[in-house]
Symmetry: C2
Subunit: 332 residues, 2 copies
């Protein structure tokens, strides 16, 4: 920077002003400085800037299961929104969502002086842990938990999605809708169950028992095999597309035709779910939007850190995508 100042014939402070777009610099001077910067191929040292301003223009992301499509998409959404806002992002992945690991991740990010943290946080333990973070650090949770008491949250309206799926199947004439659920300790899973249950209840339909599983096709396959044995099952709402994939295979192997004998609906709208056999009716989540909204929320909280509003909560509406896997009830 000193070299630039010397070459442009100004003081280092004027260079700094040009760098930071201060208004009170004569246009000609600014041009001369810019020219000097270019010819010296100067780049400012952000570490020094961070040292004095105490802000790094870097955001931290606490990632969980980021190899899965949903989290990976959120990550991408956050990163690209952050770039547009002039922020860099650093990642701290977490193998499990227990308090210790989350706090450790927050700590690593803090050490590297991030200005804020977005946690991909499908379980409540994360928001709880986040509440223990230094209060000067703004945190936002994105992903799972609807009801957050600690941190501001952005999530999909899972209950709405479940309602859309369930109602769609009821409208097709199915007497009731069975559910292949995700893990019981994930709020996303729980909220989808609730949405499904309430919709059935509102329609006066019988509410079948729920089997829990993991989020993958293996679990869906197991649940599907059980459901295929029950002849009264004509419609299955699956808690995500991977589970639906397993259910589809189980039904196929049991000789049940989809959608003629049984209708299946998923959740997520994974990239290729339109090419399952048959193409899967599912609930589309806009993960990119989720990322963008969470970034916006974080930035908002960062600028107005003084006034302590109650933690906000943003819900993003999902959308039902109707494909071939759902059709009229066979009895109709």
């Amino acid at each position: 920077m000193r070299d630039v100042a010397k070459l442009a014939g100004v003081s280092h402070q004027t260079v700094s002003r040009v760098l930071n777009d201060h208004p009170n610099v004569r246009a000609e001077t600014r041009a001369r400085v810019l020219e000097a910067m270019r010819s010296l191929n100067y780049r400012r040292n952000l570490a020094a800037r961070t040292l004095v301003t105490r802000q790094s223009d870097t955001l931290g992301i606490i990632g969980f299961e980021t190899t899965l499509f949903g989290p990976a998409s959120m990550l991408y959404g956050i990163e690209s929104a952050a770039r547009d806002a002039g922020y860099m992002v650093s990642i701290a992945s977490v193998r499990d969502l227990d308090r210790r690991q989350v706090l450790e991740a927050v700590d690593r990010l803090t050490q590297h002086s991030v200005d804020g943290v977005i946690a991909i946080a499908p379980k409540q333990s994360v928001t709880h842990a986040l509440a223990q973070a230094p209060p000067s650090l703004q945190c936002v949770a994105v992903g799972g938990a609807g009801e957050s008491d600690a941190a501001p949250t952005v999530s999909i309206d899972n209950a709405l999605g479940a309602r859309l799926a369930t109602q769609h199947l009821l409208d097709l004439g199915h007497a009731t809708v069975h559910h292949a659920a995700g893990p019981p300790d994930w709020p996303e899973s729980v909220e989808r169950i609730e949405g499904w249950r309430r919709t059935l209840y509102a329609a006066g339909a019988q509410v079948p028992p729920v089997e829990h599983g993991w989020w993958d096709a293996e679990s869906g396959y197991a649940q599907g095999q059980a459901l295929a044995r029950d002849p009264s099952v004509t419609a299955i709402f699956c808690s995500n597309d991977r589970i639906a994939l397993g259910v589809l295979r189980a039904l196929h192997e049991a000789g049940k035709r989809v959608p003629d004998d049984v209708s299946v609906v998923g959740f997520d709208d994974m990239p290729d779910s339109g090419y399952f056999v048959p193409p899967l009716t599912t609930v589309h989540q806009d993960f990119g939007e989720l990322g963008r909204r969470s970034l916006a929320l974080l930035l908002e909280h960062m600028t107005s850190a003084a006034d302590h509003q109650p933690p906000e909560q943003v819900l993003v509406a999902p959308e039902l995508i109707i494909r071939a896997s759902s059709g009229p009830s066979p009895g109709r």
Copy 2:
């Protein structure tokens, strides 16, 4: 730090020594300093450290299509290996792989003074761009291109994978193997084609013409429809699992049974490919290993920056996973 020094009754330098594990500190002194750090809840300011040491303990990752399973897995592999090695990672995603965007990403990372860069770089344009990065910045490319002239590279042995798949089908008695390829300008796709072609050639089998497509199921579906029309097709090697998914659907809709009429083999071993209908025989890539190896290679190059070895190239061997989608040739 000054406060810690005061509380422990030592100088700031001694505190620094404790922080950096210098040997020449009396055990008792070290304990006193550590105690002071704990009681003041002291964390060292890494920005200041970076400023003086000129290294940030941060690595940059240039990401491309990180919502897909493969890149997302590499990202995760790199990140977790980096954490174990004491590094933080920052991400710079890139929408397209043209030189400008890649250089821009390198620039952003450089500004934030990363110590090295790993590029998830399935196309050669990236390694070329990487060569233009400041020579002080160590770069490693991971993912696609076998033949790199510029940067050290870690990639899957695509040709080997293709050979395993093709040979497997030939061994089952198929007269030849058709190929549903990926995009023609991706080295991964090209190398798989080459491996497939060479295997057929070595076996004296006829080499069918190749159709190119994108990496998704939609493209596989289109290719599959064309292949289903040709009664001589009994075996199809797909350039990835998503293409295979589309091919499976096309075959199913055309009334072809898998594997009775046509065998299908994929590439990637995506999480749920074992639950396709039927479960997909495929070539397993260890993306996590890829990430770890690339990190190791980068660190190696960073420590011995002086001696300019020719750019290394690491190949990771894939593995054939045999499932139900491949079986004996119907004519046999």
